[in-house]
């Protein structure tokens, strides 16, 4: 007997969902063992995680606030992924957006009406993210330069650039020698609706816009064709390089806007850690959501819950946030691995009579 791997032609939605649920349950089981080995009661830990993510209105609000930037940046990254362009530079694009937004907020008069200030910052952040994203896209289109490596490197260039700004060029003289950049003025802070900054409305609008872009517009169609097969796109007479450049401009712009939302919505200060690794998390979220905007809304929300729950777990039970991070890693492993069983099936194969006789 031999086990053979066969690609599935088709899988029922229910069965695929079942495989994924089993994978997540198994991951939590491994996480429970890990927690037990580290001397914590897993049941209590998961209870605390759930409670601090969803337990009260204010907890749900915190979860949503954590999820907002994750959802927005994942939408941006997903546009690139739709073209088969591996944009792991979300973090750098987010920082670029936040840098431009900070610059605008510090240089426009503080007497400006809030709406104008915020629109100017948003426009600036879109542009900032776009500019930093289009550099590797240009070299990809023109010379075929590997975009995974290029966008990855740009993250660190931007991170150290912001560090330079924070410790030198933009260091706040009023901070008594403490290396930080001055907070944005009051008219640069996002208003709140239902107790949460309006980033959540921006996120929902973007989910709709990106869905429409991909499903209803010509460029969205072209983006999907390029992603499916560059050759098909060429045969169909599309200018593949133009599609990639336009797609990446949108991808980077949305990542840049995330920087502005984070700045005006939660942190108010620019720092190199403003993104908090969300550029990488976005790659994972977009991928787990199968690049679907609605999927990103859901997966992004769950990631927000996981992150927020981990904070509560540390406060309530003293379980280190680092351990929660590794549990997040475990769950990712589970969900990554299970896709294999969604896409392929294992077939037991017995040698047939003919082959036996031949042997």
């Amino acid at each position: 007997m031999r086990i053979r791997i066969v690609q599935r032609d088709h899988i029922a939605g229910g069965k695929a969902a079942l495989i994924r649920v089993i994978a997540i349950v198994l991951s939590f089981l491994v996480a429970a063992i890990l927690l037990g080995v580290m001397g914590y009661n897993p049941w209590q830990a998961f209870g605390s995680l759930f409670k601090s993510a969803f337990g009260s209105m204010s907890n749900i609000r915190s979860t949503i606030i954590t999820a907002i930037p994750l959802i927005i940046i994942s939408l941006g990254v997903a546009i690139a992924f739709h073209m088969g362009y591996v944009n792991v530079g979300g973090e750098g694009q987010l920082l670029a957006g936040a840098v431009v937004a900070t610059f605008i907020s510090h240089n426009l008069p503080t007497s400006l009406p809030k709406i104008i200030m915020l629109l100017a910052m948003a426009a600036g952040s879109l542009l900032g993210g776009m500019l930093i994203a289009v550099i590797p896209a240009y070299f990809k289109a023109k010379f075929g330069v590997n975009e995974t490596l290029f966008t990855l490197m740009l993250n660190y260039v931007m991170q150290y650039y912001v560090l330079m700004l924070r410790t030198q060029t933009w260091k706040d003289p009023k901070a008594m020698g403490f290396p930080k950049i001055a907070a944005v003025p009051n008219n640069a802070i996002l208003p709140k609706v239902f107790g949460i900054h309006i980033g959540w409305i921006i996120a929902i609008i973007l989910v709709v816009l990106v869905s429409m872009l991909l499903r209803r517009t010509k460029i969205g169609y072209e983006i999907r064709v390029v992603g499916a097969s560059v050759n098909t796109a060429r045969y169909a007479g599309m200018d593949v390089n133009r599609v990639i450049l336009i797609g990446i401009c949108m991808s980077g712009a949305i990542a840049g806007l995330t920087g502005m939302v984070k700045l005006s919505g939660t942190t108010y200060n620019l720092s190199e850690s403003i993104g908090g690794g969300s550029g990488f998390t976005a790659v994972i979220i977009a991928w787990l959501a199968k690049l679907s905007p609605v999927g990103i809304l859901i997966v992004g929300f769950l990631f927000g819950a996981l992150t927020q729950g981990a904070v509560g777990m540390e406060l309530a039970l003293g379980i280190p946030a680092a351990l929660a991070e590794s549990i997040q890693g475990l769950i990712l492993f589970g969900t990554l691995g299970c896709e294999f069983f969604v896409n392929y099936r294992l077939v037991r194969e017995y040698p047939s009579k003919a082959t036996k006789e031949a042997a």
Binding site: I5, N146, T148, F150, Y156, W287, A322, F333, L336, G337
Partner: protein, 332 residues
């Protein structure tokens, strides 16, 4: 020896010291990428290796066991990556990032269990010794030969064994990759797994080997920080060096020997950035000469090399052809 040449010697020495874990990590990632797998989990594997090495050192006071522990810790991470990307054909970029999340989290958790205890002196003393250091009593003050030997002694010969181990490993891996049959097979798998498969190479076995070697070396690199560099555990002890390693592999174009010099250059830039404001007070306050600017330059240099490689388009400069792609034999 006058103070200027002494400070230059010490500068070179620090550059060499901090480049050592970079060489080790880069060698590992080079082998992994030569087998066609982009493992972005280096940072996570280094954290796992560092945490395990630290923990084992605390409990056994043994250098060998601590190093073995570090290697095994990181290899565990690379095994998970290998299983997911080779056997289950998961996306390499995403799996690598997940490994970093996992490894950094678990590494910090395990490292913290030591409560910041110092690495036992039996271990730190071992790494404090410079086995090649010359005894210059009596020669020191002789003209010409005295200062020259002192300079060489201070800059190159006073290091701990890890430094020389890294260089020897680079040479061994160069021979392995370019002069042996097994190395040829590994590179063939990274260039074209289908062709390698057709010629009878066991593609999966080669991939597992390459990825696990990458894990073992990342583990050694991670172990360097608690054992030989800092002497205790601190949160995020590898401090993002895993990403420098990924850059370095591109910078040296997937070549083990060049990795030695590339690492040294990156290490030197790091040190220069730290020392420049004290050496030349005139540049203090200029952002482009600041510590963080010098942290940024390795990444900019890597980008320039990456672009130049593609524009020149020389064969072998753009990395293994199948890097990042899952391989599966067509089966119906």
């Amino acid at each position: 020896m006058n103070s200027v040449s002494l400070s230059i010697a010490l500068l070179l020495a620090s550059g060499i010291r901090i480049s050592t874990p970079l060489i080790l990590g880069a060698l590992g990632e080079t082998v992994t990428e030569r087998a066609g797998h982009l493992n972005l989990g280096v940072e996570g594997m280094m954290m796992l290796g560092g945490a395990l090495a630290y923990t084992v050192a605390l409990h056994t006071e043994s250098v060998i066991l601590a190093l073995l522990g570090g290697m095994l810790g990181a290899m565990f991470g690379s095994l998970v990556y290998a299983f997911l990307t080779v056997a289950l054909r998961a996306n390499q970029t995403v799996t690598g990032l997940a490994l970093t999340t996992f490894g950094v989290g678990l590494g910090n958790t395990i490292g913290k269990l030591g409560n910041g205890a110092n690495v036992p002196s039996a271990v730190t003393q071992f790494f404090g010794k410079g086995p090649l250091t010359l005894n210059l009593d009596g020669i020191e003050n002789k003209p010409v030969i005295g200062p020259v030997l002192t300079f060489i002694n201070e800059a190159i010969l006073k290091h701990n064994i890890f430094v020389y181990l890294a260089i020897i490993l680079a040479i061994i891996l160069y021979i392995f990759l370019f002069k042996t049959r097994a190395g040829l097979h590994l590179r063939a798998v990274g260039e074209s797994p289908a062709a390698a498969d057709a010629s009878g190479i066991n593609v999966n076995r080669v991939k597992y080997t390459g990825i696990l070697i990458g894990g073992a070396l990342a583990g050694l690199a991670g172990a360097y920080y608690p054992l030989a560099h800092i002497g205790t555990w601190t949160d995020n002890i590898t401090g993002g060096r895993g990403w420098i390693v990924v850059a370095l592999v591109i910078f040296v174009r997937w070549h083990p020997i060049k990795a030695i010099f590339g690492s040294f250059l990156f290490g030197l830039l790091d040190i220069i950035g730290l020392r420049l404001p004290t050496l030349f007070p005139g540049v203090a306050g200029l952002a482009i000469f600041s510590e963080y600017a010098f942290n940024m330059y390795p990444y900019i240099m890597t980008i320039i090399v990456l672009i130049a490689s593609y524009i020149r388009g020389r064969k072998g400069w753009m990395g293994p052809a199948a890097l990042g792609h899952s391989y599966f034999r067509e089966e119906r």
